[in-house]
Symmetry: C2
Subunit: 434 residues, 2 copies
């Protein structure tokens, strides 16, 4: 871990720089897989599943039998935990349901918006050593609340051709049962173009490795929306003298274990706390099963001593952390002054892992500084809004002349004429008095 | 105009297909300009402004003198019209200010969201024959309401090195005075990387030709967000026997005059109305100054006769029109059943041009079927939301065990430990009872 004490503003860019990861040039392989899936559908999917994942199940759609069997393979303890998380995530996202009243902008001119679900969405859940059932909750629950009519889930099969039962159990529990044993680039290509088995979707969600990330970028060029740009995960802790070094260290480490490109940053106004945190990190690290990953990513990690909370907030807003943990007596100041962050964790009993799993907030968040322009996944990510306007005859008389003048000045005659013809002419219709 | 009567569902894709425009391969020139601007800043901007626009003003920043002079060059009539439009757009977008109450998902676990402005945004206003001051309103007004602290505007200079006074007047009126005489790829590159004069931004908004569109795509790969993917403009009118053919025709034509790749579609349940509309289009077309553009784009245009409003809505949701005009006795059914559209215009006195200029709704809308996954520009386009959570000691006792079980099952030890260490240990802090 790198320590910086009272850095000047000119040093910030270096201190706050993210671990640079050479963006692999995957364009060629992504283009190849997309072209093949577009042309050959499931045949191409099978080919690349075999090639990349070493497993190509004869039937990619998970059967209802597999789903019901999965429930028997998940412990009651885990089921109870998922139940709590599900309930909280549901409550938080239900609270996001949109309500907007119509407004009369001019007499006779009424405007409003209506929220409608994105009908077809695809959720991607990565494979790997651990079953990411929490991602199923974080993407699936808002999709269900939004009312998306076609929700599909893709996840790579293991070597035996199966998806982990905890993923199947969680998906089925929340109401998703169109699950495909397909991963990687071929999964994203399948959801982009559709195959005989996999339906095409309008928007793709979910984390993934560099192949999945590159495939999602490709999908956007093919008219499919994605949740947000990807990047390695990160946490920034702000702590003052009131904070517990052991707690800070546990949070820095829970970020560090994600991957070797993860980043943990501490910004602290108290030198003793900073020093003790460093020691705590070293001691807690020893106990971790993913010690080697965590110790590698700690090389990207930074402890910064600053003068006061004002300086800290300037620095934090410049960094725009994905996860921002606050253990400070200045909580109110921080809430008022945070401009750029994905999710904020307030107080000593609010570790990042609470938001990763069960507090109710979404764990799909903008990283890599994208919090300056993007929000995390929310109910809105599965919706879009349509604007409406209704203008009465009188309303058009009120704003029509302004439209005519503006259209004329933009040299758009027909735009002007659409108003003129209405202002000048009576209409033989039921609607003329509206 | 192509006429289809009672088409079967299998014919829909052909009938509803958009004009195919070969996506020009602009990657090379875009990459060249971006690399040059990144390296040489304003020097490169000047070079490409000269090369592409035939005009490269010594000073790209519009002076306050130019801005104040512009006000004298705009007619009072146009100023009054802009005033009405400004007021309505302001009211509609102010009505979008976000309010969300915090929610206690479990006792002691409180979550909420806060909306914050995207600090740095760039608005692009195309040049060309007509001054698009309406675009200044549609992008600038929500940016101002959102509270974006740095708003810049780029627009290409004319041959004499000037931006049209109506654009300068409108920008200044709403509170934007950092205006640069730069257009095309070099403008987008400048806002992406920043130069000595042009500040870099986090998100770029605005329409443009194929060069601008390709440059905005490139910007997203450089970490800059954009408003939405671009495509040619389109309108779909749904009309039944209550509609006026003259009004329908005027709306189809106001779309058709936009550009040769624009598309106008009529879906109609009444054969007489359809036939009369065709005749009205032909007669009104003769009067238009942009007759040649409109008649060219009418070749992409389609009149479809359908059995009833139910069939119509299935077809319309499949098409997902940018602009959807409704002249029908079944308005309520249509409002309830529209799923995919950018903006809806209800009733005989609500032409598209009202929303283009002055009703209050935004005219930056998803086209090319993107309304299936995207919303138009709104106040939210200039904001992002940060999630917050605060968990009390008791709260963590309530959900902590669930987090521990889930983290353990995802093989994330340190995530589990961040909870365990808190549940097991007392803390010597002011925050322990929170």
């Amino acid at each position: 871990m790198n320590i910086f004490k009272y850095p000047t503003k000119s040093e910030w860019p270096k201190i706050l720089s993210r671990p640079v990861k050479e963006k692999a040039n995957l364009e060629e392989v992504v283009n190849e897989v997309f072209a093949a899936v577009k042309k050959d559908g499931d045949k191409a999917i099978a080919l690349y599943s075999d090639k990349f994942d070493g497993s190509s199940p004869a039937e990619t759609l998970v059967s209802s039998q597999e789903i019901s069997e999965a429930a028997n393979l998940v412990s009651q303890e885990l089921k109870d935990a998922i139940e709590i998380a599900h309930s909280n995530i549901q409550k938080f996202h239900q609270n996001q349901i949109f309500e907007e009243k119509e407004i009369e902008t001019t007499e006779g001119v009424t405007c409003w918006r209506k929220e409608t679900a994105i009908e077809k969405v695809g959720l991607y859940v990565p494979g790997g050593t651990a079953p990411l059932f929490s991602t199923v909750l974080m993407l699936g629950v808002p999709a269900i609340i939004a009312g998306c009519s076609d929700i599909i889930l893709c996840s790579p099969p293991d070597k035996s051709g199966n998806i982990h039962p905890a993923i199947l159990y969680t998906a089925n529990k929340i109401g998703i049962n169109k699950i495909f044993k397909v991963g990687g680039i071929q999964a994203i290509a399948g959801m982009t173009y559709g195959t005989e088995k996999i339906p095409s979707v309008y928007k793709v969600f979910g984390p993934g490795n560099q192949y999945v990330t590159a495939a999602k970028e490709k999908a956007t060029t093919q008219g499919v929306a994605i949740d947000m740009p990807a990047g390695p995960s990160e946490v920034l802790v702000y702590a003052d003298k009131s904070a517990s070094p052991a707690f800070i260290a546990s949070d820095l480490l829970s970020q560090a274990e994600h991957g070797t490109d993860s980043q943990s940053v501490l910004i602290c106004t108290d030198e003793t706390i900073l020093q003790k945190t460093k020691e705590e990190v070293e001691s807690q690290l020893e106990q971790l099963s993913r010690k080697s990953i965590a110790s590698e990513s700690l090389k990207n990690s930074t402890l910064v001593l600053v003068k006061n909370v004002q300086d800290a907030m300037l620095m934090i807003n410049e960094y725009a952390p994905e996860h921002f943990i606050v253990m400070s007596e200045d909580e109110d100041y921080i809430i008022d002054n945070i401009k750029n962050a994905g999710s904020v964790f307030l107080g000593s009993y609010t570790p990042e892992s609470a938001g990763d799993y069960a507090s109710g907030t979404n764990h799909t968040l903008p990283t890599n500084g994208f919090a300056k322009a993007y929000s995390g996944v929310s109910l809105e990510s599965f919706n879009k809004k349509i604007t409406f306007q209704r203008i009465s005859k009188q309303g058009l008389h009120n704003i029509g002349p302004a439209i005519e003048v503006m259209a004329e000045n933009e040299l758009l005659d027909a735009h002007k004429n659409a108003v003129t013809i209405r202002l000048n002419k009576d209409i033989n219709s039921n609607y003329d008095s509206k």
